[in-house]
Symmetry: C2
Subunit: 468 residues, 2 copies
């Protein structure tokens, strides 16, 4: 044993998964499926369907707040586009829901240093009315710190919850650091606060607040709840650090009415075998109201639709591919629940959604790793040329397909790189210019590969003319 070898051997001992394996003990080789690979490479180079849908939806409709006229225009747009692309059984499956809309909103430090801060109401925020409310700020660095505070310290005040979310590739910190938005308003209300402002759940430094949904639970009375843009939250921290009482005037006007209408837009590539369990792929059509919902989630519906179209262009799959543009995901996944109620008992071979932006897919995971290892290995081999690694420990996620997965559908997750995602998520900055066409095509290539491999085989049919 020489000194130069020792560190390498220690490293190998410490990280056995990365240690060099004898080629004699490697599992049998798995090669990419040639037909899927050809479709993959064509999509990677030539796809324009996804860009066209994303550009069209964000330009010709713009924002698509759930259960509003804008979302209805988006459904009409989707039906027209999906029919024009040659999909079958294009229809809207409507459902009703409450409508929450935003009005005037502002936050102003009254003292000690008068100045305006950039703010946006959170979904289902209570309304201050046009006169607003005024109160002293009380600072917490987490929801738990707020929960631990005596009610008497919070009563009559405006709660401010800070946090320190950093970018992560898989978005895994959104769970923990999203708590100020999801739980903060209810906890603050139960303690008698007259309002709550949080540091936006985001990773950028622009004056664009990140909105997002929250619900008042446990019988909490709705109070005004808003997110400060991150530079403004940092400004408020600096002002608080001067040690003098900080008084804020907060105006968050909003309206909630019952009986709004949303719906899922559904389209199909009919399979040769109508009895074979179907492939369900989707994204959500609605968006928050301040950007044009480009990465959240026009790109998602565009990616899965483009992939299904590539299969349609290639011939007839054995399994039916069902594309769903879910309605009303942002206010709590209502479209996904409506779909599962209507279709959850139909046999699904797979349920998958694209709803994490438009940057490249970097890894995938699926319960096929346990239930169908051969297909999983084939997927891994066919996706690897796109730079996509497999994640054997992945778990099902995705608001829209979760209820269908809960009803028994197997899941697959094509995981996008989220490093930039929370820079623009739920902000006015979610616009078309944030989308990189090359990365968008890589997404389409991956989804096309997956659909080709799980389609049960594509037979050349009366080939459809390519239509935009």
């Amino acid at each position: 044993m020489t000194r130069t070898l020792l560190p390498a051997l220690l490293l190998a001992a410490a990280t056995p998964a990365l240690a060099q394996q004898s080629i004699a003990t490697l599992p049998p080789p798995v090669l990419a499926d040639p037909k899927a690979a050809a479709l993959r490479d064509d999509a990677l180079e030539n796809d324009h369907y996804a860009w066209d849908i994303t550009e069209g939806l964000t330009t010709e409709v713009g924002q698509r707040l759930a259960a509003t006229g804008a979302e209805a225009r988006a459904r009409d747009w989707g039906v027209r586009r999906l029919k024009a692309m040659g999909f079958a059984n294009v229809r809207v499956e409507p459902f009703t829901m409450p409508v929450w809309t935003r009005g005037a909103e502002s936050a102003e430090i009254v003292s000690p240093f008068p100045q305006k801060l950039a703010i946006a109401a959170l979904g289902y925020s209570g309304s201050t009315g046009p006169a607003g409310v005024t109160g002293e700020i009380i600072y917490f660095d987490s929801v738990d710190a707020l929960r631990a505070a005596p009610d008497s310290a919070v009563r009559g005040k405006i709660v401010f919850i800070d946090h320190h979310m950093m970018p992560s590739q898989d978005g895994s910190d959104y769970g923990q650091f999203g708590a100020p938005r999801r739980q903060g308003p209810t906890v603050a209300s139960k303690k008698g606060a007259i309002g709550i402002v949080i540091r936006s759940i985001g990773t950028d430094h622009h004056r664009n607040p990140h909105t997002g949904v929250q619900y008042f639970t446990d019988g909490a009375t709705p109070i005004p709840a808003g997110a400060l843009a991150i530079p403004d939250a940092e400004q408020l921290v600096r002002v608080l650090k001067r040690g003098r009482p900080v008084v804020m005037h907060l105006t968050l006007v909003s309206q909630k009415t019952e009986g709004g209408q949303s719906g899922n837009v559904i389209a199909e590539v009919p399979g040769r075998d109508p009895r074979a369990p179907i492939l369900l792929v989707g994204g959500h059509l609605d968006s928050w109201d301040q950007g044009t919902g480009a990465i959240d989630d026009a790109s998602g519906v565009a990616i899965v639709t483009a992939a299904a179209k590539h299969i349609m262009d290639a011939g007839r799959p054995q399994r039916t591919i069902r594309v769903v543009w879910f309605g009303a995901e942002e206010p709590g996944g209502l479209g996904g629940k409506a779909y599962a109620e209507a279709h959850g008992k139909e046999p699904h071979a797979i349920a998958a959604e694209s709803d994490f932006g438009a940057d490249r897919i970097w890894r995938f995971s699926s319960q096929l790793s346990k239930t169908d290892p051969a297909s999983y290995a084939q997927l891994a081999a066919s996706l690897a040329p796109l730079g996509i690694t497999k994640n054997d420990k992945g778990e099902a996620d995705g608001t829209d397909v979760e209820p269908t997965i809960a009803a028994g559908a197997p899941w697959i997750s094509l995981g996008q790189d989220g490093s930039r995602y929370f820079d623009v998520h739920h902000t006015p900055d979610d616009t078309l210019d944030k989308i990189d066409p090359a990365q968008l095509r890589q997404n389409v290539a991956a989804w096309t590969t997956m659909l080709a491999l799980l389609s049960g085989g594509i037979e050349p049919g009366a080939k459809q003319p390519k239509r935009r």
Copy 2:
């Protein structure tokens, strides 16, 4: 002559300035001044004055729109801070001016695709009143294209001027691409337009419009004039490309009143020789109203003040150093004009300002290259260790010191890297988080070096205690 030598010789012939020079013909060596170098290196490593001023002014005052109460609070803040730092002759020199303030503002595409666009009024915009105006958009890709259009094509419409400004290190394209803002409103008004919107003069892709000043000249009637955020201008272009008439509803409420008050805040490091021409350094105290004016121009006043303080900490210069925090630069350099009226005939050894952000200085230029080559060479040698090159072809610029230079003061320009400057210039995004403390210190080091070299010599005096 070998083949490999030929290209090198051709290159040398084509670009003689870069050709290798014989060491026998090099000019005599110039070494950095040791005392200036020591002050430079101390500032580079340890300066906190500039950060403290920038952080304090942006946190404790925030935006400082010219001739408003906010700018008055900033003057009070400045006087307190400059006195606390030990400067002499701290005073405000007031002047009067009209006050322009912004009210409600919105832009909405009414048809064919209803949606809101992000907009900000330009300085001295006409007001639509709360009801707004509605008109068809007419597109131009430059001011010249607008000028060439027949009045009949423009009359009754809302002009939209596009452009394609890219980032540049020296900001030199701001002249050409700023024309839509500076000249567009007047030209549009003269042709009978009912309003004008421009693509923001900027280089980012955020939903933050770039405001800035414009004047209606040549007897033009004020019309509403606003800047669309860049993603919104691009969206409008996409909508226009569909080929259908585009109708916009534009609301830009603003107010202009006479008799407002602004002022210059002035402080000095008194020189040993009261008759020696002084060193004038400055930045501007006012800012636009949407951000906190961190890079425009809290950092500028902070940099020059910090440098003067480093000289003060080192002893007594021969020449007086006069620090000016100019008022009302943004609406047209009113503070600079007021200073030149009051002081332009006093002898100045140099006039210099910092007003191009807070990123590192990359080159300098000065008329000393012609009038005092020895000092210029000494400056070049002493600034080079900061990565600062000399620009023999530079010209005087700087809104605040221009009138004083026009009155006869020699100029020097320490040029900052503007590659990022027009991402946030005149937007809500001009906030403290955009400032890199290390680059800010490099600025202070360069200004300290310059002041030390041109001070006429610093004699150790009753050394002042360092005060924040």
